[in-house]
Assembly symmetry: D2
Homo-oligomer: 138 residues x 4
Amino acid sequence: MSTLTRFGISMDSKLLQRFDAYITEHGYANRSEAVRDLVRERLVQKSWDKGDEEMVGTITLVFDHHQRDLTEKLTSQQHDHHETVLSAMHVHLDHYNCLEVLAVRGKASDIQHIADHLISVKGVKHGKLVMTATGKGL
Amino acid sequence: MSTLTRFGISMDSKLLQRFDAYITEHGYANRSEAVRDLVRERLVQKSWDKGDEEMVGTITLVFDHHQRDLTEKLTSQQHDHHETVLSAMHVHLDHYNCLEVLAVRGKASDIQHIADHLISVKGVKHGKLVMTATGKGL
Amino acid sequence: MSTLTRFGISMDSKLLQRFDAYITEHGYANRSEAVRDLVRERLVQKSWDKGDEEMVGTITLVFDHHQRDLTEKLTSQQHDHHETVLSAMHVHLDHYNCLEVLAVRGKASDIQHIADHLISVKGVKHGKLVMTATGKGL
Amino acid sequence: MSTLTRFGISMDSKLLQRFDAYITEHGYANRSEAVRDLVRERLVQKSWDKGDEEMVGTITLVFDHHQRDLTEKLTSQQHDHHETVLSAMHVHLDHYNCLEVLAVRGKASDIQHIADHLISVKGVKHGKLVMTATGKGL
């Protein structure tokens, strides 16, 4: 079982006032949750930089499905990495353009490699990798 | 109908050599596709900074679904913005942790606001907004 | 006079353990200073996004000073914006390459404009804008 | 001697139109220079990620020099790394706040370590590392 620890933070009143405005603007319930989010965000970044843990990511792709063989190529690449690509969601943006989001899980370098090779496919207009974590230890 | 234009680029041979290595490493079919990707990436960034177009995004959330009322809260927030949130994909990471990815479409500031308010919910351990585009004009 | 306020943060023990490791690795004196840094970093980002305050920045440029008229062009552009460009530091990297860093102060959009127009000059090989703040209210 | 190579790029007319608008807005002399900048920016990023080359960086710090022993501490840390820290520029922002920019050169991981340990010092309100390159091969 995980347990909660409580500790004190001292902060200049003016800085705290600005932080409280940020907290309200973003809809945080309290300062603890806002601080935890900043801490987790930083730790997730560090984990990706180090590449020493199993990570989770999402790969967002925008492409024109009329591009010859594109859908086939993307599907085939995803199957080549079926142990890493967990699932996919497809959204029809208009008559031509599609949004596809893949959920991936694996070593940081493997995920980066798969994202690079999907984004580079002709007909993929824009692609982005989001690096997040499995949630363990966060 | 869109038409293709061809234009020339001059580049120092050493720089071109390094660019060609990058192209090979990422699996690009040719220099044109790699240059187009760099251009599109920069234009998408600029569009988001300006906030003057209809944009598309994905919001990635990692959370512990055992957190009381969390699933309900996230679902309810998504429905409050049903005109912006297009669809959602859910992945079970382990007994506790979930990955949820939302596809969103709307004004940059609205998308940012929705992302901020989902990420700030207690129990959401990590969240990230990817800003991409509708694909029109890219 | 500014005053210090103290408030409590609750955090899962496992998350706190990872945060403490981060704190040690970065040489922070204590948790308060590490949390304040995360808060200030986020607030500075937000201020730049909003563009509603007087900001401070540094513009880093790497260029080949043998490029014809380059030094003259960069100096002249800096003087055109003498009310924004506060000072400059020049480092000789090798026989050809120079590093120049400018300290700038002004509206976010003005600083961005100046940075864009310096980075785009032929012979400037790489340029980056760092967005920081005047330090007031941080 | 370095030599110039010329190669052709094909681009959808609508995309090229948007790119040309970007080129004009940023003050680029021509498309070649704009493309070269995008290529160099990407290659510099990759070099930093790989950490396999000698890199150049700038570390921007905003701090309150009234903080006890701060100036001394920062100076001493810089001297501990005198082989990496090339030079420093100091700007007086107001009665309390200072901007200091350091030019650094060395292995990516060493530069990152020095930046982390300067930014973590109490009294340093904000700090940022810019990663650039020596200019060779760009």
